[in-house]
Protein backbone atom coordinates (compact mmCIF):
# COMPACT_ATOMS: atom_id res chain seq x y z
CA UNK A 1 0.00 0.00 0.00
CA UNK A 2 1.46 3.36 -1.01
CA UNK A 3 1.82 6.13 1.58
CA UNK A 4 1.27 9.73 0.45
CA UNK A 5 2.64 12.87 2.01
CA UNK A 6 1.98 16.50 1.01
CA UNK A 7 4.77 19.02 0.47
CA UNK A 8 5.58 22.36 -1.21
CA UNK A 9 7.94 21.99 -4.18
CA UNK A 10 10.76 24.40 -4.99
CA UNK A 11 12.88 23.92 -8.11
CA UNK A 12 16.15 25.73 -8.80
CA UNK A 13 19.73 25.81 -9.99
CA UNK A 14 22.66 24.18 -8.24
CA UNK A 15 26.41 24.54 -8.82
CA UNK A 16 26.76 20.84 -9.68
CA UNK A 17 23.95 21.01 -12.24
CA UNK A 18 25.61 24.13 -13.80
CA UNK A 19 28.99 22.40 -14.13
CA UNK A 20 27.48 19.10 -15.36
CA UNK A 21 25.64 20.96 -18.18
CA UNK A 22 28.89 21.23 -20.16
CA UNK A 23 29.44 17.46 -19.97
CA UNK A 24 26.22 17.02 -21.95
CA UNK A 25 22.72 16.30 -20.73
CA UNK A 26 23.07 12.61 -21.43
CA UNK A 27 26.17 12.40 -19.20
CA UNK A 28 26.01 10.49 -15.93
CA UNK A 29 27.17 13.70 -14.16
CA UNK A 30 24.08 15.56 -15.37
CA UNK A 31 21.74 12.73 -14.38
CA UNK A 32 23.42 12.56 -10.97
CA UNK A 33 23.19 16.34 -10.56
CA UNK A 34 19.51 16.60 -11.48
CA UNK A 35 17.88 13.27 -10.65
CA UNK A 36 17.20 13.76 -6.97
CA UNK A 37 14.83 15.38 -4.51
CA UNK A 38 15.91 16.91 -1.20
CA UNK A 39 13.86 16.46 1.96
CA UNK A 40 14.50 17.66 5.51
CA UNK A 41 15.78 15.17 8.07
CA UNK A 42 12.61 15.67 10.18
CA UNK A 43 10.34 14.70 7.30
CA UNK A 44 12.55 11.84 6.22
CA UNK A 45 12.54 10.36 9.71
CA UNK A 46 8.83 11.02 10.20
CA UNK A 47 8.06 9.10 7.00
CA UNK A 48 10.70 6.49 7.77
CA UNK A 49 12.40 6.62 4.36
CA UNK A 50 16.04 5.89 3.72
CA UNK A 51 18.30 8.16 1.73
CA UNK A 52 19.01 6.85 -1.75
CA UNK A 53 15.56 5.36 -2.13
CA UNK A 54 13.56 6.26 -5.23
CA UNK A 55 10.31 8.09 -4.57
CA UNK A 56 7.52 9.22 -6.85
CA UNK A 57 6.54 12.90 -6.83
CA UNK A 58 3.20 14.02 -8.18
CA UNK A 59 1.78 17.49 -8.87
CA UNK A 60 -1.38 18.57 -10.67
CA UNK A 61 0.72 18.63 -13.87
CA UNK A 62 2.77 15.48 -13.88
CA UNK A 63 4.96 13.05 -12.00
CA UNK A 64 8.61 12.10 -11.71
CA UNK A 65 10.59 9.38 -9.97
CA UNK A 66 13.67 10.70 -8.19
CA UNK A 67 16.29 9.61 -5.69
CA UNK A 68 15.62 10.83 -2.16
CA UNK A 69 18.39 12.80 -0.46
CA UNK A 70 18.43 14.52 2.87
CA UNK A 71 19.01 18.25 2.50
CA UNK A 72 18.94 21.58 4.25
CA UNK A 73 15.33 22.42 3.45
CA UNK A 74 12.68 23.37 5.99
CA UNK A 75 10.19 20.66 6.98
CA UNK A 76 7.27 20.57 4.58
CA UNK A 77 9.38 21.57 1.56
CA UNK A 78 11.04 19.57 -1.20
CA UNK A 79 13.79 20.84 -3.50
CA UNK A 80 14.36 19.44 -7.01
CA UNK A 81 17.23 20.81 -9.19
CA UNK A 82 16.41 22.15 -12.66
CA UNK A 83 16.28 19.29 -15.14
CA UNK A 84 13.99 16.64 -16.54
CA UNK A 85 12.50 15.76 -13.12
CA UNK A 86 11.55 19.36 -12.37
CA UNK A 87 10.08 19.87 -15.87
CA UNK A 88 7.78 16.92 -15.51
CA UNK A 89 6.32 18.43 -12.33
CA UNK A 90 5.66 22.04 -13.33
CA UNK A 91 2.66 23.22 -15.35
CA UNK A 92 2.67 25.16 -18.61
CA UNK A 93 0.12 27.80 -17.54
CA UNK A 94 1.93 31.13 -17.20
CA UNK A 95 -1.02 33.28 -16.05
CA UNK A 96 -0.30 35.76 -18.82
CA UNK A 97 3.35 36.30 -17.91
CA UNK A 98 5.29 33.77 -19.98
CA UNK A 99 6.65 32.24 -16.76
CA UNK A 100 5.36 28.92 -15.46
CA UNK A 101 5.00 28.55 -11.67
CA UNK A 102 8.15 26.63 -10.86
CA UNK A 103 8.48 27.43 -7.18
CA UNK A 104 5.92 26.86 -4.47
CA UNK A 105 3.81 24.11 -6.05
CA UNK A 106 1.84 21.62 -3.95
CA UNK A 107 3.35 18.17 -4.45
CA UNK A 108 2.63 14.68 -3.17
CA UNK A 109 5.28 12.11 -2.40
CA UNK A 110 4.40 8.47 -2.85
CA UNK A 111 6.35 5.85 -0.93
CA UNK A 112 5.81 2.29 -1.96
Amino acid sequence: MATMAEFILITGRTAKQGAALHKGKDSSEYRQATGFVQMSREDRERLGVEEGRRVRLRTAFGEAELELREGDVPPGMLFVPLGPGANALIGADTEGTGMPDSKGLPVEVELR
Binding site: I8, I10, G12, R13, T14, A15, G18, A19, A20, L21, H22, K23, G24, K25, D26, F61, G62, D72, V73, P74, M77, F79, L82, G83, P84, N87, A88, I90, G91, A92, D93, T94, E95, G96, T97, G98, M99, P100, D101, S102, K103, G104
Partner: protein, 424 residues
Protein backbone atom coordinates in the same frame (compact mmCIF):
# COMPACT_ATOMS: atom_id res chain seq x y z
CA UNK B 1 50.46 30.79 -24.37
CA UNK B 2 48.64 32.41 -21.47
CA UNK B 3 45.77 34.71 -22.49
CA UNK B 4 44.82 37.18 -19.76
CA UNK B 5 41.61 39.14 -19.07
CA UNK B 6 39.37 36.68 -20.83
CA UNK B 7 35.63 37.19 -20.25
CA UNK B 8 33.85 34.02 -19.11
CA UNK B 9 30.63 33.86 -21.16
CA UNK B 10 28.74 31.41 -18.95
CA UNK B 11 26.76 33.44 -16.42
CA UNK B 12 25.53 37.01 -15.99
CA UNK B 13 28.63 37.89 -13.92
CA UNK B 14 30.72 37.83 -17.14
CA UNK B 15 33.93 37.76 -15.05
CA UNK B 16 36.54 39.54 -17.17
CA UNK B 17 39.67 38.49 -15.27
CA UNK B 18 39.99 34.87 -16.39
CA UNK B 19 43.39 33.59 -17.56
CA UNK B 20 43.38 30.76 -20.07
CA UNK B 21 46.39 28.80 -21.24
CA UNK B 22 46.23 27.61 -24.85
CA UNK B 23 48.70 25.11 -26.40
CA UNK B 24 48.26 23.88 -29.97
CA UNK B 25 44.76 25.30 -30.12
CA UNK B 26 43.79 23.38 -26.97
CA UNK B 27 42.86 24.87 -23.62
CA UNK B 28 45.27 23.37 -21.10
CA UNK B 29 44.60 25.51 -18.00
CA UNK B 30 41.95 27.92 -16.76
CA UNK B 31 42.69 30.28 -13.88
CA UNK B 32 40.31 32.21 -11.62
CA UNK B 33 37.07 30.84 -13.14
CA UNK B 34 34.54 29.08 -10.90
CA UNK B 35 33.61 25.42 -11.47
CA UNK B 36 30.87 26.25 -14.02
CA UNK B 37 33.10 28.64 -15.97
CA UNK B 38 36.06 26.27 -15.91
CA UNK B 39 33.88 23.42 -17.12
CA UNK B 40 32.74 25.54 -20.11
CA UNK B 41 36.33 26.29 -21.16
CA UNK B 42 37.79 22.82 -20.69
CA UNK B 43 34.95 20.98 -22.40
CA UNK B 44 35.01 23.13 -25.53
CA UNK B 45 35.19 21.32 -28.88
CA UNK B 46 37.48 22.70 -31.54
CA UNK B 47 36.91 19.97 -34.11
CA UNK B 48 34.78 20.47 -37.20
CA UNK B 49 31.19 19.28 -37.12
CA UNK B 50 28.86 18.89 -40.04
CA UNK B 51 25.28 20.07 -39.93
CA UNK B 52 22.62 17.36 -40.06
CA UNK B 53 19.18 17.13 -41.63
CA UNK B 54 16.97 14.32 -40.32
CA UNK B 55 20.04 12.78 -38.71
CA UNK B 56 22.09 12.68 -41.94
CA UNK B 57 25.27 14.75 -42.26
CA UNK B 58 25.03 17.30 -45.08
CA UNK B 59 26.99 20.30 -46.38
CA UNK B 60 26.14 23.76 -45.05
CA UNK B 61 24.23 25.03 -48.14
CA UNK B 62 21.88 22.01 -48.00
CA UNK B 63 21.35 22.47 -44.29
CA UNK B 64 20.53 26.15 -44.74
CA UNK B 65 18.11 25.25 -47.57
CA UNK B 66 16.36 22.69 -45.38
CA UNK B 67 16.13 25.12 -42.45
CA UNK B 68 14.74 27.94 -44.57
CA UNK B 69 12.21 25.61 -46.20
CA UNK B 70 10.86 24.67 -42.77
CA UNK B 71 10.61 28.30 -41.69
CA UNK B 72 9.06 29.48 -44.97
CA UNK B 73 6.44 26.71 -44.89
CA UNK B 74 5.39 27.53 -41.34
CA UNK B 75 2.39 29.76 -40.64
CA UNK B 76 3.62 30.72 -37.18
CA UNK B 77 7.33 30.07 -36.69
CA UNK B 78 8.93 30.66 -33.28
CA UNK B 79 12.51 31.87 -32.79
CA UNK B 80 13.64 31.21 -29.22
CA UNK B 81 16.73 31.15 -27.02
CA UNK B 82 19.33 33.90 -27.60
CA UNK B 83 20.73 34.12 -24.06
CA UNK B 84 23.95 32.18 -24.73
CA UNK B 85 24.83 33.79 -28.02
CA UNK B 86 26.45 37.14 -28.79
CA UNK B 87 24.46 40.32 -29.40
CA UNK B 88 25.68 40.38 -33.02
CA UNK B 89 23.82 37.08 -33.55
CA UNK B 90 20.80 38.25 -31.54
CA UNK B 91 20.47 41.16 -33.93
CA UNK B 92 20.47 38.79 -36.93
CA UNK B 93 17.88 36.56 -35.27
CA UNK B 94 15.60 39.58 -34.89
CA UNK B 95 16.11 40.53 -38.56
CA UNK B 96 15.18 36.97 -39.52
CA UNK B 97 12.06 37.07 -37.33
CA UNK B 98 11.07 40.33 -39.00
CA UNK B 99 11.50 38.83 -42.51
CA UNK B 100 9.51 35.71 -41.61
CA UNK B 101 6.76 37.40 -39.59
CA UNK B 102 7.82 35.14 -36.72
CA UNK B 103 7.41 35.29 -32.95
CA UNK B 104 10.72 35.87 -31.17
CA UNK B 105 11.35 35.31 -27.47
CA UNK B 106 14.38 34.76 -25.28
CA UNK B 107 15.01 32.66 -22.18
CA UNK B 108 14.24 35.87 -20.27
CA UNK B 109 10.60 34.88 -20.38
CA UNK B 110 11.31 31.93 -18.03
CA UNK B 111 13.76 33.75 -15.72
CA UNK B 112 13.42 37.51 -15.36
CA UNK B 113 10.55 38.23 -17.76
CA UNK B 114 8.39 39.07 -14.72
CA UNK B 115 11.16 41.46 -13.62
CA UNK B 116 10.81 43.37 -16.86
CA UNK B 117 7.02 43.47 -16.51
CA UNK B 118 7.37 44.72 -12.92
CA UNK B 119 9.92 47.35 -13.89
CA UNK B 120 7.75 48.54 -16.78
CA UNK B 121 5.15 49.58 -14.21
CA UNK B 122 7.51 51.00 -11.56
CA UNK B 123 10.75 52.15 -13.19
CA UNK B 124 14.18 50.74 -12.45
CA UNK B 125 16.38 52.14 -9.67
CA UNK B 126 19.65 50.62 -10.84
CA UNK B 127 23.44 50.98 -10.84
CA UNK B 128 26.49 49.13 -12.14
CA UNK B 129 28.35 46.35 -10.36
CA UNK B 130 31.30 48.75 -10.14
CA UNK B 131 29.21 51.06 -7.94
CA UNK B 132 28.22 48.09 -5.80
CA UNK B 133 31.86 47.07 -5.39
CA UNK B 134 33.05 50.55 -4.43
CA UNK B 135 30.09 51.90 -2.48
CA UNK B 136 27.56 49.37 -1.22
CA UNK B 137 27.59 48.78 2.53
CA UNK B 138 24.24 46.94 2.67
CA UNK B 139 23.72 43.99 0.33
CA UNK B 140 20.39 42.22 0.35
CA UNK B 141 20.05 39.01 -1.68
CA UNK B 142 16.40 38.06 -2.14
CA UNK B 143 15.37 34.70 -3.59
CA UNK B 144 18.77 34.00 -5.11
CA UNK B 145 21.72 31.79 -4.28
CA UNK B 146 24.87 33.32 -5.77
CA UNK B 147 27.15 30.83 -4.01
CA UNK B 148 25.75 28.21 -6.40
CA UNK B 149 24.43 30.06 -9.43
CA UNK B 150 26.82 33.05 -9.71
CA UNK B 151 29.77 31.62 -7.87
CA UNK B 152 32.16 34.59 -8.12
CA UNK B 153 29.59 37.32 -7.50
CA UNK B 154 30.60 37.71 -3.84
CA UNK B 155 34.31 37.78 -4.57
CA UNK B 156 34.25 40.10 -7.58
CA UNK B 157 31.35 42.46 -7.11
CA UNK B 158 29.63 42.22 -3.77
CA UNK B 159 30.09 40.66 -0.32
CA UNK B 160 33.82 39.99 -0.25
CA UNK B 161 35.38 42.49 -2.60
CA UNK B 162 37.27 45.60 -1.42
CA UNK B 163 36.28 48.89 -3.05
CA UNK B 164 37.30 52.54 -2.73
CA UNK B 165 34.69 53.31 -0.07
CA UNK B 166 34.63 49.75 1.25
CA UNK B 167 38.35 49.09 1.84
CA UNK B 168 37.63 46.55 4.57
CA UNK B 169 35.77 44.28 2.11
CA UNK B 170 33.44 41.92 3.97
CA UNK B 171 33.91 43.86 7.25
CA UNK B 172 32.55 47.02 5.64
CA UNK B 173 29.35 45.41 4.43
CA UNK B 174 26.26 43.93 5.96
CA UNK B 175 24.90 40.96 4.02
CA UNK B 176 21.23 40.01 4.33
CA UNK B 177 19.66 36.95 2.69
CA UNK B 178 15.95 36.40 2.20
CA UNK B 179 15.02 32.92 1.04
CA UNK B 180 12.61 30.07 1.62
CA UNK B 181 15.38 27.69 2.66
CA UNK B 182 18.91 27.90 4.03
CA UNK B 183 21.44 27.83 1.18
CA UNK B 184 25.21 27.98 0.79
CA UNK B 185 24.72 31.74 0.37
CA UNK B 186 22.56 32.24 3.46
CA UNK B 187 25.24 30.56 5.56
CA UNK B 188 27.57 33.43 4.67
CA UNK B 189 25.07 36.17 5.55
CA UNK B 190 24.94 38.37 8.67
CA UNK B 191 21.15 38.23 8.69
CA UNK B 192 19.00 35.45 7.25
CA UNK B 193 15.25 35.90 6.97
CA UNK B 194 13.54 32.64 6.11
CA UNK B 195 10.28 33.49 4.38
CA UNK B 196 7.48 31.00 3.92
CA UNK B 197 7.14 29.95 0.22
CA UNK B 198 4.79 32.31 -1.61
CA UNK B 199 5.00 35.13 0.97
CA UNK B 200 7.55 37.40 -0.72
CA UNK B 201 4.91 39.98 -1.67
CA UNK B 202 3.57 40.14 1.91
CA UNK B 203 7.07 40.57 3.29
CA UNK B 204 7.90 43.38 0.85
CA UNK B 205 4.56 45.03 1.53
CA UNK B 206 5.20 44.85 5.29
CA UNK B 207 8.62 46.46 4.82
CA UNK B 208 7.00 49.30 2.86
CA UNK B 209 4.45 49.82 5.63
CA UNK B 210 7.14 49.86 8.32
CA UNK B 211 9.19 52.30 6.26
CA UNK B 212 6.15 54.61 6.24
CA UNK B 213 6.06 54.35 10.05
CA UNK B 214 2.87 52.29 10.18
CA UNK B 215 2.25 49.81 12.97
CA UNK B 216 1.54 46.22 11.99
CA UNK B 217 -0.98 44.50 14.24
CA UNK B 218 0.59 41.06 13.74
CA UNK B 219 3.71 39.47 15.25
CA UNK B 220 5.03 37.93 12.09
CA UNK B 221 4.61 38.16 8.32
CA UNK B 222 5.32 35.18 6.06
CA UNK B 223 7.04 33.40 8.94
CA UNK B 224 9.36 36.33 9.80
CA UNK B 225 8.94 38.25 13.10
CA UNK B 226 7.95 41.89 12.66
CA UNK B 227 10.78 42.93 15.01
CA UNK B 228 13.27 41.49 12.54
CA UNK B 229 11.58 43.33 9.67
CA UNK B 230 11.74 46.56 11.68
CA UNK B 231 15.45 45.93 12.23
CA UNK B 232 15.93 45.45 8.46
CA UNK B 233 14.07 48.69 7.74
CA UNK B 234 16.39 50.56 10.13
CA UNK B 235 19.44 49.07 8.42
CA UNK B 236 18.04 50.04 5.03
CA UNK B 237 17.31 53.63 6.04
CA UNK B 238 20.67 54.17 7.67
CA UNK B 239 23.02 52.55 5.15
CA UNK B 240 25.14 54.66 2.81
CA UNK B 241 24.41 52.68 -0.34
CA UNK B 242 22.08 49.71 -0.41
CA UNK B 243 21.24 47.21 -3.12
CA UNK B 244 18.75 44.38 -3.41
CA UNK B 245 19.91 41.64 -5.75
CA UNK B 246 16.97 39.41 -6.56
CA UNK B 247 16.54 36.10 -8.30
CA UNK B 248 13.99 33.58 -9.37
CA UNK B 249 12.76 33.10 -5.83
CA UNK B 250 10.95 36.38 -6.50
CA UNK B 251 10.01 35.92 -10.19
CA UNK B 252 8.95 32.27 -10.24
CA UNK B 253 6.68 32.20 -7.21
CA UNK B 254 3.03 33.21 -7.21
CA UNK B 255 2.66 36.94 -7.86
CA UNK B 256 5.71 36.98 -10.16
CA UNK B 257 5.83 40.51 -11.67
CA UNK B 258 3.77 41.88 -8.76
CA UNK B 259 6.52 40.74 -6.38
CA UNK B 260 9.09 42.57 -8.48
CA UNK B 261 6.94 45.72 -8.71
CA UNK B 262 6.60 45.69 -4.90
CA UNK B 263 10.35 45.21 -4.46
CA UNK B 264 11.14 48.05 -6.84
CA UNK B 265 8.56 50.31 -5.14
CA UNK B 266 10.25 49.67 -1.78
CA UNK B 267 13.65 50.51 -3.27
CA UNK B 268 12.30 53.70 -4.88
CA UNK B 269 10.82 54.80 -1.52
CA UNK B 270 14.11 54.11 0.28
CA UNK B 271 15.71 56.76 -1.92
CA UNK B 272 13.98 59.37 0.26
CA UNK B 273 16.52 58.32 2.95
CA UNK B 274 19.63 57.09 1.16
CA UNK B 275 20.88 55.74 -2.16
CA UNK B 276 19.24 52.39 -2.82
CA UNK B 277 19.12 50.25 -5.96
CA UNK B 278 17.81 46.90 -7.19
CA UNK B 279 19.33 44.48 -9.68
CA UNK B 280 18.07 41.16 -11.07
CA UNK B 281 20.63 38.34 -10.92
CA UNK B 282 20.62 37.52 -14.62
CA UNK B 283 21.49 33.88 -15.25
CA UNK B 284 22.82 33.13 -18.72
CA UNK B 285 25.90 34.95 -20.00
CA UNK B 286 24.09 37.20 -22.47
CA UNK B 287 20.46 37.07 -21.38
CA UNK B 288 20.70 40.76 -20.47
CA UNK B 289 21.97 41.32 -24.02
CA UNK B 290 18.91 39.56 -25.43
CA UNK B 291 16.70 42.11 -23.62
CA UNK B 292 18.90 45.04 -24.66
CA UNK B 293 19.18 44.00 -28.31
CA UNK B 294 15.48 43.20 -28.68
CA UNK B 295 14.57 46.52 -27.05
CA UNK B 296 16.97 48.42 -29.27
CA UNK B 297 15.68 46.69 -32.41
CA UNK B 298 11.94 46.40 -31.72
CA UNK B 299 11.14 48.58 -28.70
CA UNK B 300 10.31 45.52 -26.58
CA UNK B 301 12.53 43.25 -24.46
CA UNK B 302 11.01 39.77 -25.07
CA UNK B 303 7.74 38.15 -26.25
CA UNK B 304 7.67 39.94 -29.62
CA UNK B 305 5.57 38.93 -32.63
CA UNK B 306 6.16 40.19 -36.17
CA UNK B 307 3.08 38.40 -37.50
CA UNK B 308 1.40 41.68 -38.45
CA UNK B 309 4.49 43.05 -40.13
CA UNK B 310 5.45 45.26 -37.16
CA UNK B 311 6.58 44.32 -33.65
CA UNK B 312 3.89 43.60 -31.07
CA UNK B 313 4.66 42.77 -27.44
CA UNK B 314 2.57 40.61 -25.16
CA UNK B 315 3.93 38.32 -22.43
CA UNK B 316 1.57 35.37 -22.00
CA UNK B 317 0.64 35.56 -25.68
CA UNK B 318 3.98 35.73 -27.53
CA UNK B 319 6.13 34.02 -24.89
CA UNK B 320 7.66 30.69 -25.91
CA UNK B 321 6.07 28.45 -23.25
CA UNK B 322 2.63 29.83 -24.17
CA UNK B 323 2.91 29.62 -27.97
CA UNK B 324 4.15 26.05 -27.61
CA UNK B 325 1.76 24.85 -24.89
CA UNK B 326 -1.21 26.30 -26.81
CA UNK B 327 0.00 24.52 -29.97
CA UNK B 328 0.29 27.76 -31.97
CA UNK B 329 3.91 27.50 -33.07
CA UNK B 330 4.22 25.19 -36.09
CA UNK B 331 8.01 25.36 -36.51
CA UNK B 332 10.83 26.53 -34.27
CA UNK B 333 14.34 27.88 -34.61
CA UNK B 334 16.16 27.44 -31.30
CA UNK B 335 19.34 29.42 -30.85
CA UNK B 336 21.83 28.48 -28.11
CA UNK B 337 19.37 27.18 -25.56
CA UNK B 338 17.77 23.90 -24.60
CA UNK B 339 14.02 24.29 -24.07
CA UNK B 340 13.48 20.51 -24.30
CA UNK B 341 15.49 20.21 -21.10
CA UNK B 342 13.98 23.20 -19.30
CA UNK B 343 10.38 23.74 -20.40
CA UNK B 344 7.34 22.28 -18.68
CA UNK B 345 6.45 18.98 -20.28
CA UNK B 346 3.45 20.21 -22.27
CA UNK B 347 5.52 22.90 -24.02
CA UNK B 348 8.41 20.47 -24.62
CA UNK B 349 6.01 17.91 -26.11
CA UNK B 350 4.79 20.44 -28.68
CA UNK B 351 8.38 21.22 -29.57
CA UNK B 352 8.97 17.51 -30.23
CA UNK B 353 5.98 17.43 -32.61
CA UNK B 354 6.91 20.38 -34.85
CA UNK B 355 9.89 20.70 -37.20
CA UNK B 356 12.73 22.28 -35.26
CA UNK B 357 16.06 23.80 -36.27
CA UNK B 358 18.79 24.16 -33.65
CA UNK B 359 21.86 26.41 -33.70
CA UNK B 360 24.07 25.26 -30.85
CA UNK B 361 27.67 24.33 -30.13
CA UNK B 362 26.38 21.45 -27.96
CA UNK B 363 24.30 18.42 -28.86
CA UNK B 364 21.53 19.52 -26.48
CA UNK B 365 18.34 17.52 -25.83
CA UNK B 366 16.56 19.93 -28.19
CA UNK B 367 19.23 19.29 -30.85
CA UNK B 368 18.79 15.54 -30.44
CA UNK B 369 15.11 15.88 -31.33
CA UNK B 370 15.58 18.50 -34.09
CA UNK B 371 15.12 18.08 -37.86
CA UNK B 372 18.05 20.37 -38.68
CA UNK B 373 21.10 20.74 -36.42
CA UNK B 374 23.57 23.53 -37.15
CA UNK B 375 26.70 23.15 -34.97
CA UNK B 376 28.33 26.52 -34.36
CA UNK B 377 31.33 28.01 -32.57
CA UNK B 378 31.12 29.12 -28.91
CA UNK B 379 31.12 32.85 -28.34
CA UNK B 380 33.83 33.80 -25.86
CA UNK B 381 35.87 30.68 -26.60
CA UNK B 382 35.99 29.97 -30.35
CA UNK B 383 34.27 33.15 -31.59
CA UNK B 384 34.41 36.84 -30.68
CA UNK B 385 31.34 38.95 -29.96
CA UNK B 386 29.57 41.16 -27.44
CA UNK B 387 27.70 40.18 -24.28
CA UNK B 388 25.89 42.27 -21.64
CA UNK B 389 26.62 41.71 -17.96
CA UNK B 390 23.73 41.55 -15.47
CA UNK B 391 24.05 45.32 -14.94
CA UNK B 392 23.63 45.88 -18.72
CA UNK B 393 27.29 46.76 -19.24
CA UNK B 394 28.43 45.35 -22.63
CA UNK B 395 31.74 43.44 -22.62
CA UNK B 396 33.80 42.05 -25.52
CA UNK B 397 34.02 38.24 -25.70
CA UNK B 398 37.32 36.95 -27.06
CA UNK B 399 38.14 34.21 -29.51
CA UNK B 400 40.86 32.22 -27.76
CA UNK B 401 40.93 29.06 -29.89
CA UNK B 402 40.34 28.56 -33.60
CA UNK B 403 37.34 26.56 -34.71
CA UNK B 404 36.35 25.50 -38.22
CA UNK B 405 32.72 26.00 -37.24
CA UNK B 406 30.82 29.10 -38.37
CA UNK B 407 29.41 31.52 -35.78
CA UNK B 408 25.69 31.88 -35.03
CA UNK B 409 25.86 35.27 -36.72
CA UNK B 410 27.24 33.80 -39.96
CA UNK B 411 24.67 31.01 -40.04
CA UNK B 412 21.80 33.44 -39.40
CA UNK B 413 23.15 35.66 -42.16
CA UNK B 414 23.10 32.72 -44.59
CA UNK B 415 19.52 32.00 -43.56
CA UNK B 416 18.50 35.64 -44.07
CA UNK B 417 20.04 35.68 -47.55
CA UNK B 418 18.29 32.41 -48.42
CA UNK B 419 14.90 33.69 -47.22
CA UNK B 420 15.38 36.83 -49.31
CA UNK B 421 16.22 34.87 -52.46
CA UNK B 422 13.30 32.48 -51.89
CA UNK B 423 10.82 35.33 -51.64
CA UNK B 424 12.40 37.43 -54.45
Amino acid sequence: MMIENVVCPFCGCLCDDIAVEVEDNRITAVKKACASGRSLFVNVHTQAAKPTVDGEEVEWPQAIDAAVRILNDAANPLIYGLSSTASEAQRKAIALADLLGATIDSTSSVCHGPTTIGIQSQGEPTCTLGEVKHRADLLIFWGCNPAESHQRHFARYSALTRGKLTPGGRKDRTVVMVDVRPTLSSKRADVFLQVRPGYDFELLNALRALLKGQNLDVDQVGGVEVARLQDLVERMKSCRFGVIFFGMGVTQTGGKHLNVAELVALVAELNAYTRFTAMPMRGHGNVAGADCTLTWQTGYPFAVSFARGYPQYNPGEFTAVDVLARGEADAALIIASDPMAHFPRRAAQRLAQIPTIVLDPEMSLTAQAARVVLPTAIYGVSAAGTAYRMDNVPLPLKKIVESPRPTDEQVLDWMIERVKTCSA
